[in-house]
């Protein structure tokens, strides 16, 4: 069928395209629905049910008991608050550091920008776990940093702060996330029309004021992408706390992990998971409000 004939036969062709389109997306649809949509909805439903600890049968439905367990238990609430605090702290520090590096690469480096960008992500080719392991060895009372400081005579005792605790979790998460955030911010900064910066200076603004009033506002889309990029995984993080968190650095994700893989209280765990999901959805909505959907999509 040559292209001219194609244009003539509109109606049956449209139906053919519709069919082809639908057929092509069915596998993906199926996968997403079966492995994502249905399981998440099941968890949502499970959060409102109470299961018998041994027989796993449904004892009562619907019930708010699971949520009550979360909110009436001080230990759990503390972990939740700590998680929120840590996540916000990590977001601020990692986005800040990533912004500085992205700015440097955009404005102060003239060649090989992308190579340098990629270089920052090189350590992760092997595994996130590998980087976490490295940090575990560095930190800790008998870790590399402490033993180095002591052997050099700079300290006489291991620094407590550098042990396995919440501070370490913050440090490690910042260090592991900021390389990934450089790219979206970089893209945003590169796109800025340089003559706008010149115009700002021509009108009397010093380089610093130019940054504040022109560069930074125009780079916000990339910053928001970066914020989303780090906030969502971090709030559900459980691997890093398990590796460097010790006893005081536990995060909400660890609680969920325990309920599902250790305590086998899926009902309570589901409630916890739903709470986390709500926080995430809230954060996403707030950010979308601020920047608008299209702009976000553009910068992707």
């Amino acid at each position: 069928m040559n292209p001219r004939e194609k244009e003539a036969s509109q109606s049956p062709k449209t139906k053919k395209i519709e069919l082809r389109g639908i057929l092509l997306v069915v596998p993906t649809y199926l996968w997403l629905i079966v492995t994502f949509l249905i399981p998440v909805i099941s968890v949502l439903m499970l959060s409102f049910a109470e299961l018998h600890p041994v027989t796993k049968n449904i004892v009562s439905f619907p019930t708010m008991n699971n949520y009550l367990t979360l909110f009436t238990n001080l230990d759990y609430v503390v972990v939740l608050l700590r998680t929120l605090l840590l996540t916000v702290a990590v977001t601020i520090s990692s986005v800040g550091l990533a912004y500085a590096v992205a700015y440097f690469i955009t404005f102060k480096i003239l060649k090989n920008k992308y190579t340098i960008l990629l270089a920052f992500q090189a350590p992760y080719i092997a595994s996130y776990m590998m980087v976490l392991l490295a940090w575990r060895l560095l930190l800790g009372r008998s870790g590399v940093i402490n033993s180095l400081l002591m052997s050099m005579g700079l300290t006489s005792e291991p620094i407590e702060l550098l042990g396995y605790n919440a501070f370490s979790v913050w440090l490690v998460l910042t260090a592991t996330w900021f390389p990934w955030l450089i790219l979206p911010i970089f893209v945003s900064l590169e796109k800025i029309d340089r003559s706008l910066l010149e115009a700002s200076q021509d009108l009397g603004a010093s380089p610093f004021t130019t940054f504040l009033k022109v560069t930074f506002p125009l780079s916000l889309p990339g910053v928001f992408v970066a914020i989303l990029f780090v906030f969502i995984p971090t709030i559900g993080e459980f691997v890093a706390p398990a590796v460097v968190g010790g006893t005081t650095g536990l995060m909400f994700g660890n609680l969920i992990y325990d309920f599902f893989l250790k305590g086998f209280r899926w009902d309570i765990g589901s409630a916890f998971a739903v709470c986390l999901l709500c926080i995430v959805i809230l954060a996403v909505l707030v950010l979308f409000r601020k920047i608008g959907f299209e702009k976000l999509m553009e910068s992707l």
Partner: protein, 351 residues
């Protein structure tokens, strides 16, 4: 007569490439001063050095009498209207315009007053709250000018601002610019490659080519008395005749004698003459003209107000004749034999 901007032997090199070569000129207060030349002649680089975005390799720049060669742009009493306008997309019209004023911490009521005045000046009253994306090309142009002018700079710099506009809009903007200049009185330095713009608006023109200043003068001087072949040709195009000077006339091989003004002193034996196309008469019979030659029309372009002819002369040289259509009964056709002629005083000697 105060000098607002002065360049002394300014040179700008990028490695081996010399973009601006030993350029000197002075701009008087209140002048409309244009830098005119083809692409790559160094006019934009010169403008950027005046505004502070480039630093001269050699030479000095004075603004209002003070040395400003190394002063950063945000400390200079100049404002630039960028070629691509560079209006801040994330601010509305009002915030764009008041950007510079706020940096200088001008009091609020003064800001309001100036913005209102300026918007009325460019005939866009009430546009304060509009978004940049909502403006048309001509409106953006005017807002960019306002944003610069509202700061009351000593010198307003304009970098080919009319480039992206269509013909009608450009003609309107030329009239607008002249009017604004008249009302505000600020010194304007205008960069363009379009000699029509420069001739229409300027008090003085600097013609540049390949980084050098070729000629400085009023529009009339530049047009009527070009001092070099380049200027004669670049400004409005021209016809060149070369030949030996004998006794009040130039003898061109194959063509004959062209009588020239007796006042044109010549020390050389060979002269180059420039005759502007609109100074040449064309017709079947010519009377009362000093120089008349035979020719054959090879092309004709009817352009409304005028008709442009390409005429082949007896020495096989092709000249351009622009004849007003007023008074012409018909357009001469291709291949027609005609007579062309001009008066003595219409041939310029190019040294």
């Amino acid at each position: 007569m105060k000098i607002d901007v002065e360049l002394k032997n300014v040179t700008k090199k990028y490695g081996e490439i010399v973009a601006v070569d030993d350029v000197s000129f002075a701009v008087e207060r209140g002048q409309f001063f244009s830098l005119l030349g083809p692409s790559g002649c160094g006019k934009t680089t010169t403008l950027r050095m005046i505004s502070g975005f480039e630093t001269p390799t050699e030479g000095e720049i004075f603004i209002e009498g003070k040395p400003m060669t190394n002063v950063p742009p945000f400390k200079r009493p100049t404002n630039l209207v960028f070629q691509n306008l560079a209006l801040f997309p994330h601010m509305n019209v009002f915030d764009n315009i008041t950007f510079g004023l706020r940096i200088k911490k001008v009091p609020e009521n003064e800001i309001q007053k100036r913005v209102k005045e300026m918007l009325e000046l460019v005939r866009l009253p009430g546009y304060e709250k509009r978004k940049i994306s909502q403006l048309s090309g001509g409106e953006k142009q005017r807002i960019a000018i306002v944003r610069a002018l509202v700061n009351r700079p000593a010198v307003l710099l304009l970098d080919e601002p009319l480039g992206p506009l269509d013909l009608k809009l450009r003609e309107e903007m030329i009239v607008e610019l002249k009017r604004i200049k008249r009302e505000v009185g600020t010194t304007f330095i205008y960069v363009t490659h379009d000699q029509g713009e420069a001739l229409t608006m300027s008090d003085k023109i600097v013609v540049m080519n390949k980084g050098k200043v070729v000629q400085i003068g009023t529009p009339m001087e530049i047009y009527e008395k070009p001092k070099s072949k380049f200027v004669a040709d670049f400004i409005g195009g021209t016809n060149f005749f070369e030949g030996k000077y004998t006794d009040g006339a130039v003898e061109v091989d194959g063509l004959g004698k062209i009588s020239i003004e007796s006042g044109a002193h010549v020390s050389k034996k060979t002269l180059l003459l420039s005759v502007k196309p609109e100074k040449i008469c064309i017709g079947k019979k010519l009377k009362k003209v000093d120089n008349i030659f035979d020719g054959k029309v090879t092309e004709s372009f009817y352009q409304g107000r005028a008709i442009t002819y390409k005429v082949l002369l007896e020495n096989d040289s092709l000249i351009t004749v622009v004849a007003p259509s007023y008074g012409m009964e018909r357009v001469f056709g291709i291949g027609e034999k005609v007579k062309v002629g001009w008066n003595k005083e219409d041939a310029r000697v190019i040294t």
